[in-house]
Subunit: 268 residues, 4 copies
């Protein structure tokens, strides 16, 4: 099969690292991720501040709406990733080059930091502390009668959650977007809405099913977790590697899956 060298060249196309268009497109990723971090974290805070008995449900619904809209806004410029997981999966399945994926992931991380800074500028110190800037936490330290104690989720449990949920995310929604025939069939709004709804659903599941106070729910987006961790530091760094390793493992599993299923189905 002659296609292999071509797609290999395509995968490692270093020249895209020096392409102005790639860097300009990555601006959409940067601002998209910044807005995503700002919006998701304020939604988390707002949902819990609102006096409702079902903050998880409201939060998940609003996150689904925000992600749908941001994907629609960035899709025509950069392809609408705003998540290192999607960029990596797109590179693994040959949709974009590894170089472009690297530039995008860099932009997403910078965007995540900008978003966390923007959030810090508008919330007061007490809210910032209560919600850890809306960051990805495995555990938090709370005062108790016997001095401060650490509550939260076990690292192994959190890693499994990251792997399983990210695979669910990739299998259930991203595959639809990557399969061009499907995407054309469903239309852009539908594809973006499916991705948004799946993320919202997983957020709902992961925050309620563990029922572990201190665990902020599944990350599924390392750039989103990096920002608050860099800005606020402290306990946000403990177990932070889980939010990178879990999604990365899921991306490899997803890439294997797309290689194993009948190949004529993708990229048509």
């Amino acid at each position: 099969k002659k296609q292999n060298p071509t797609s290999l060249r395509k995968i490692f196309s270093i020249h895209e690292l020096f392409s102005l268009d790639v860097w300009r497109a990555s601006l959409a990723e940067l601002f998209g991720t910044a807005v995503l971090v700002f919006a998701m974290d304020t939604i988390v805070i707002s949902s819990y501040e609102t006096q409702t008995k079902t903050p998880h449900l409201i939060m998940s619904f609003l996150i689904a709406v925000v992600i749908t809209i941001l994907l629609l806004a960035t899709f025509p410029i950069s392809g609408g990733h705003i998540n290192p997981v999607i960029s990596l999966a797109a590179a693994f399945t040959g949709l974009v080059s590894l170089s472009r994926a690297a530039v995008y992931i860099l932009a997403q991380c910078v965007g995540g930091i900008l978003g966390a800074l923007a959030l810090q500028a508008v919330v007061d110190t007490k809210t910032e502390q209560t919600f850890s800037l809306g960051g990805c936490t495995l555990t938090i330290v709370v005062p108790s009668a016997n001095g401060p104690v650490v509550i939260g989720l076990k690292t192994s449990q959190a890693l499994w959650l990251e792997i399983i949920c990210t695979f669910f995310f990739l299998f259930g929604s991203i595959y639809i977007a990557f399969d061009k025939r499907q995407a054309r069939h469903l239309g852009r709004v539908m594809v973006c809405a499916v991705i948004g709804v799946v993320v919202g659903l997983i957020v709902f599941i992961s925050t309620t099913v563990t029922s572990a106070k201190g665990y902020a729910g599944v990350g599924m987006n390392p750039a989103r977790c990096l920002g608050p961790a860099l800005i606020r530091g402290g306990h946000l760094w403990s177990g932070h590697w889980v939010f990178w390793a879990g999604p990365a493992i899921a991306c490899v599993a997803f890439a294997l899956y797309t290689k194993l299923i009948p190949s004529q189905l993708l990229h048509n």
Copy 2:
């Protein structure tokens, strides 16, 4: 009529058992069912953990959404069954060969086990015990003043529920998907949504109408019930045959129905 030998050959086409394409396509069934089991069971747990007065309603709505999305994701690869009931009904109505249906059902059962394992990896022991891993139970054993007692549904009642609900499921939604003229008319998203909504509706009805604590609602998907039973065992095995016999009987009834109605209406 000369069509019969052809369709008989088609039904028993053993060669598909050795076709690599069938086994690769069955991967979509495997992962689809794994994600389905993980998602449905976490949704059940999440809905009851959320402090709401209508967990059945929320649960049913989310299940409808999940099934719609998973059918959309697996449809172009394997045909989108992720349920032994649909594979069997498709074989009975001549849409797929019996061999392919057998491979799919095997993959679905393996997927169901994987999903149950994934679930076990992320929930703590107490939640696992309370919800029986989200498995299909007829009865549960609860402690009482006079020692442990068995509460739940009578086996005959559960069997009737399986038969009636699976027939409702096949008659009300799968028929639309199998009738190619209808499917083309409605579009893929609509067909998948109808199936998802019917399943959600039946889950809502079957969990509330019996009002029997200990009964986990109608199964309508043996692969979904097998996984938790194998992983957790115990009382999940009592009456487990109901979740296989009921849907099988409904499949036979549905096949008879499709043979009796004017035949030019199917497969156009």
Copy 3:
């Protein structure tokens, strides 16, 4: 005008009584009505059993969904009536022959009985008694301090409700389905959804506006009322004629209406 003898022959075409195709198509009506009765009655029971403050709303919404889906499932086989009212109205406006309508209505009545039997097989005795198998009641007998008393709606009021609501149903939704130009314009899904929503709306109005305990809401489908009455008997027979006479009068009124409006609008 020469068209009259033709359409008269069409209306009274006795030969359809002996057509196998008509009887086979009526199977879809039979199973459709059976599923309808089972689904509607379990929805009514589920909605009241759920601890919600708005059972009427949830019930009406779910009924709208069920009817939409069942119409979609039976439309390509039998035309999608699953209600003697629609079969009668279709015969009166010349869409189907009187013979076919008679076969369909017979099938619907048998289906209604099957659905009631299926319901009886799965609910426990207490639920069966509380909800009268989800049947159409004008009055119920409740125990009180002074012995059992009859509460409910006056027969004349119920008859007027049946006539007005069935006419509203025919005028507001069935007319759209019968006018072929409209139906083509809206598409099949939309037409079925409009019928479902109108039924749901009328159920919501008729159960809340009368606010009479014991009255089960407007029937608008005699086959649906016959099943539970035959299976359970007792007070379900008192005033049962209302659920046949009311819709029949509305059908006559609707037929007059379609004759009076400019005729080029129908059957195009």
Copy 4:
């Protein structure tokens, strides 16, 4: 590139200041903004007067609906701005001339005043005082045990909120409307709905995340803030510049963003 002088001429086209068509179109902006101010402010008041625990949620949902409808109503006449922010951003990205934008902004300010006058005509004095006519406040003066005190948000925090939220608004929704290829792809209703939903979402976030009594939430529309300030005066003027400076800075940032991303993507 020859396009630049053309678009420069287009941007500064003074002749549009004397075009009757522009002034007539601005009437849609005037009445659109008047209705917007009246509707948004009455929604704010109604939501808080309603005895619900989640006034923010209801308010945000209703605002999203109102904005969607008003954009649909004014789009075919003036382009559907009803917000100086959109007019300015449209001028910066070359969609309309600066002259037309100036006329529109003038009309929007007059509309905002009319809307505030209409509101004053219908609410009683007490409600008017409690809600500051639904105007944009940073701080309010409340009586306390130690005499009247000023409570609210710090000016710098409010300015950051205006800048970040307006950029989010422009990046997430207005960009979709300005990119003609996207707009055609999504359809007009969808574009207007996206804008409405994003505004609703930001209102929800900005009112709950700050949790600062006295702060009325992010303005994102100077014309909306000007009306109540002119009619009611007083503390509505303190920090009023924030509601003009913030959105203006965001417009400049958005214009830079649209210049930096690959330019062939806009205006196709």
